[in-house]
Symmetry: C2
């Protein structure tokens, strides 16, 4: 039996190798753009979203090639969002996964364009017949990813995150921001796995509840790392919200209450998997992994 860490690493390698094939080779007068796309997309990362998609799809014996390609698409979107989030006009971060951010390694111009092109590539991959033979399925994936990542999802969450000032803030507002900024893409990843496996409605709904709780756990652990983590271990700047005078769920609730809350939510996420029995063991372990991560 492989540990969850082994499985995550194996999936991360597989996704990185598939992303490598899907990214254009870095050549021609536009080489700098393509190098920056590759630098950002292939420079490590847990590949948690593709992992969740693959494991959700495997519950229903979905086609592995389709899962890997759709997993690459969500990782291209995630990568583009990190490049743009790190820009000087956003979070102004110099470090990502322990490496210089794209605008530091290249420049701002290249960072904006590499993010733009990675977004386009995600949709190009999903629209390709190689992803799935049924165009109806491909359209469902594209529509879902667009909804999760665009003005109704991730980008809206990022706007709210950038806008919120030092005012007290309320838990409901912060929770909605998190749901848009990180929850929507995590939820879509899991739903895409179920879709590709042609899952029944009750199974999709159980997974949607699991995904929702897991998304909150993920964000609260992120906030705990920001509040109480170590930059060296995290591979990125910490205490960013505090320095920006921003509240998050951890500063609103206090570290101890937040730790309690996150453990409760993790247990609740795992309970939603009950209908799948032992088949959902890996998705259940993914919750523990998310809860215990330090970076």
């Amino acid at each position: 039996m492989h540990s969850i860490e082994d499985r995550l690493r194996a999936t991360a390698d597989r996704i990185a190798s598939a992303m490598d094939s899907l990214l254009p080779p870095a050549q021609g007068p536009e080489q700098r753009l393509l190098e920056a796309m590759r630098y950002a997309a292939l420079g490590g990362g847990k590949r948690l979203r593709p992992f969740l998609m693959l494991e959700a799809g495997r519950l229903f014996d979905a086609d592995e090639n389709a899962l890997v390609r759709a997993g690459c698409a969500v990782e291209f979107i995630h990568t583009y969002s990190l490049i743009h989030d790190d820009l000087p006009c956003m979070d102004d971060d110099d470090l990502r996964r322990g490496q210089p951010t794209v605008h530091k390694q290249f420049d701002e111009t290249t960072a904006v364009l590499a993010g733009d092109a990675l977004q386009t590539l995600a949709f190009e991959v999903l629209a390709d017949t190689a992803t799935h033979s049924d165009p109806q399925m491909r359209c469902l994936l594209i529509a879902g990813l667009a909804k999760a990542s665009g003005p109704h999802g991730m980008v809206a969450g990022q706007m709210i995150d950038m806008e919120r000032g030092t005012e007290a803030g309320d838990t409901a507002g912060v929770a909605r921001m998190n749901r848009l900024k990180t929850g929507a893409l995590i939820s879509w990843s899991i739903d895409a796995g179920a879709l590709l496996g042609c899952a029944q409605d009750d199974a999709r709904h159980a997974l949607a509840r699991y995904a929702n709780d897991l998304g909150v756990v993920y964000q609260m652990v992120d906030d705990l790392i920001d509040v109480a983590g170590d930059a060296g271990e995290a591979g990125k700047a910490v205490a960013k919200d505090a320095r920006a005078g921003k509240v998050n769920l951890v500063t609103l609730l206090g570290v101890e209450t937040a730790r309690q809350r996150v453990r409760l939510l993790a247990a609740q996420a795992q309970n939603h998997l009950a209908i799948f029995g032992p088949r959902a063991k890996v998705l259940s372990e993914a919750v523990d992994f998310t809860l215990e991560r330090r970076y």
Copy 2:
């Protein structure tokens, strides 16, 4: 008989009204993002790409609703590219269509995010069943738009434009840059009209040649406006290439030779329409309009 200007204006109004319905209402904590998207997308513009798509589609009696929605998608992509091109780290422009650019009217953060979200919205619109009942058609549109606008198209052209320094430059390299930066999206617009009209291969190929020549005419006229135009009349900064020490086809060929060349190309574009007979009158007039525009 309506003049080409009247037809352009009527189409522009129709596209703007459809874009208005497709854009999310500006409300909620993410209001600033949605306001910036609306400001950029609804703030005027000739809507030349949707116009060409509609007129190409009408040659084959394509469904008008499908043409309008796909026209909105290309205009969302075009708008996102203008917002990002105007950023301080790109062309650093304060003025667009005679109005403050998005980062001037709002700020850089909002401009990056509004561009990102408009790109996503374009693919969301195309993936929607309301655009076309056949998912195969929707996937073809999405794949084509992604190819024309992403790392194989528009964004690559923009990267080359940003990278090129003050070295002499050669005509072939500048021509390729133009084909990627502006030609690809114009060509896709026209091809999408033909696709939606289920045009035969020979008709599609004739339109592709027309589109290619028209794209060069469009870019050369742009360069002529930059070299010899007036900022007030153009509604944007002029002499930008000269100030940046960059070459373009007009500076490479000289104004008079460029004017001759562009007239020849315009005639050639019109000749490609011969197989359509008088039905293609508007597409032919669109060439004259492109040739004679001053802004």
